[in-house]
């Protein structure tokens, strides 16, 4: 039996594509994703994350799920040397990202690129505020400086995809798609998946990745894009050092990694680093970059693990 279940969650389109699991497992995975959405959304005032951010105490009791989500965000910050920073919520809201942007961009990407600031790579905040956040799993608490609010949105979908795939472990072939961030698992002897990389300007296929396992994630400017009151375009990927939307010369970066959490972190870091830095970020396991002008570039993997990149013209390249 092949299950192919689509639904909306976390403001995104979700998909569970699984062979060789029963309906109860599918239901359990979906329940988990809904719970993650309810507990970790910063747009729900009753979510545990929103309550943590509103709590004036420096140390706050936190559920295992919230501790895992904050822990994942801190891990991503460490992994990307502060580029994927979970402490930029004030800046995001200052630019107008105060509610879900589900439903698509408010501004066309091509128009935003034409009006955007000069291109420059992003960099981490020198004070690395995220390092001040502490998780105590024994006490079941999270400690952070008063007033420092956390946003786990940069890593939650990857974490959720990995967690849902864990619930569906044992599937012969499996893809958990959390808004375009994929966790792939293929059993012994089963065929790998051919994953399409969508072009951020056209929606057409930019490349195809043949993936037998692990995470695939894309970070880009196309979906969460809006106009600020002064007319300048804004998007959700901020330069941590300036707190401003990052215009780096890239509009999309796709990363492969052993987990979706890591792929999501690497994709964001690649986009924020700009072209030269992105090639280094993606160089270990490979990936795909889309430049501002729409050009598609595949990044060859230094570590080959069986993945194959198939371009539209039929050319092959090594990936994960």
């Amino acid at each position: 039996v092949t299950h192919d279940v689509t639904f909306t969650c976390m403001g995104c389109d979700m998909r569970l594509l699984a062979e060789g699991v029963n309906h109860e497992a599918i239901r359990a995975a979906r329940t988990l994703l809904d719970a993650i959405d309810a507990r970790l959304s910063r747009f729900r005032t009753d979510s545990e994350l929103a309550r943590l951010n509103a709590d004036p105490r420096p140390t706050v009791p936190a559920s295992p799920l919230l501790r895992a989500a904050v822990g994942a965000a801190l891990w991503a910050a460490e992994r990307t040397r502060g580029l994927v920073d979970p402490t930029l919520l004030d800046d995001l809201e200052r630019h107008g990202y105060t509610g879900s942007l589900a439903g698509g961009p408010r501004v066309a990407l091509a128009d935003a690129l034409a009006a955007a600031a000069p291109r420059a790579p992003a960099s981490a905040r020198p004070d690395a505020r995220w390092r001040a956040v502490r998780i105590d799993n024994r006490a079941g608490t999270i400690t952070r400086p008063p007033g420092l609010r956390l946003d786990t949105g940069g890593t939650t979908k990857g974490l959720a995809a990995d967690a849902a795939a864990h619930v569906l472990a044992g599937a012969r072939r499996l893809v958990v798609d959390c808004g375009g961030d994929l966790c792939v698992a293929v059993g012994s002897g089963a065929a790998p998946f051919e994953v399409t990389v969508a072009h951020p300007l056209t929606g057409a296929r930019a490349a195809t990745l043949r993936v037998a396992g692990g995470g695939v994630a894309t970070s880009g400017l196309a979906r969460r894009l809006w106009s600020r009151p002064d007319g300048r375009p804004a998007h959700h990927l901020l330069d941590p050092a300036t707190g401003e939307p990052a215009w780096t010369g890239l509009i999309s970066a796709t990363a492969l990694a052993p987990t979706t959490l890591e792929a999501e972190a690497l994709a964001k870091a690649a986009l924020l680093r700009g072209l030269a830095g992105a090639r280094r970020v993606l160089g270990r396991r490979g990936g795909v970059l889309v430049h501002d002008d729409g050009a598609v570039e595949s990044v060859e993997a230094r570590v080959r693990r069986g993945g194959v990149l198939v371009h539209d013209d039929g050319a092959l390249g090594a990936t994960a």
């Binding site: 689509t6 909306t8 994953v195 990389v197 969508a198 979906r223």
Partner: protein, 86 residues
């Protein structure tokens, strides 16, 4: 004498019979394990079934997505998974 011999013979015969029946024939030692029964061949008919669930009517495909939302009319082969900006 003959009567005693006959009784002794019957007793020894009974003991040997019991040993043989128990699978411990003193002449051949412990009997080999019975050969494993040949595996039953079970003919399995593979039934391929595909379950498609959607919450809502398929939405308009977003500009940055190349994945059509599956519906009840989805063809037999599932749409390729797509990674995209989220």
């Amino acid at each position: 004498v003959y009567g005693g011999s006959a009784v002794a013979f019957v007793a020894v015969l009974a003991a040997l019979s019991w040993q043989v029946a128990a699978g411990a024939d003193p002449a051949i030692g412990e009997g080999e394990q019975a050969a494993a029964a040949p595996a039953k061949r079970v003919l399995v008919r593979r039934v391929v079934r595909r379950v498609v669930e959607t919450d809502e009517a398929p939405a308009t495909v977003a500009a940055a997505s190349a994945t059509p939302a599956p519906s009840a009319a989805t063809p037999a082969v599932p749409a390729a998974p797509t990674t995209r900006s989220s």
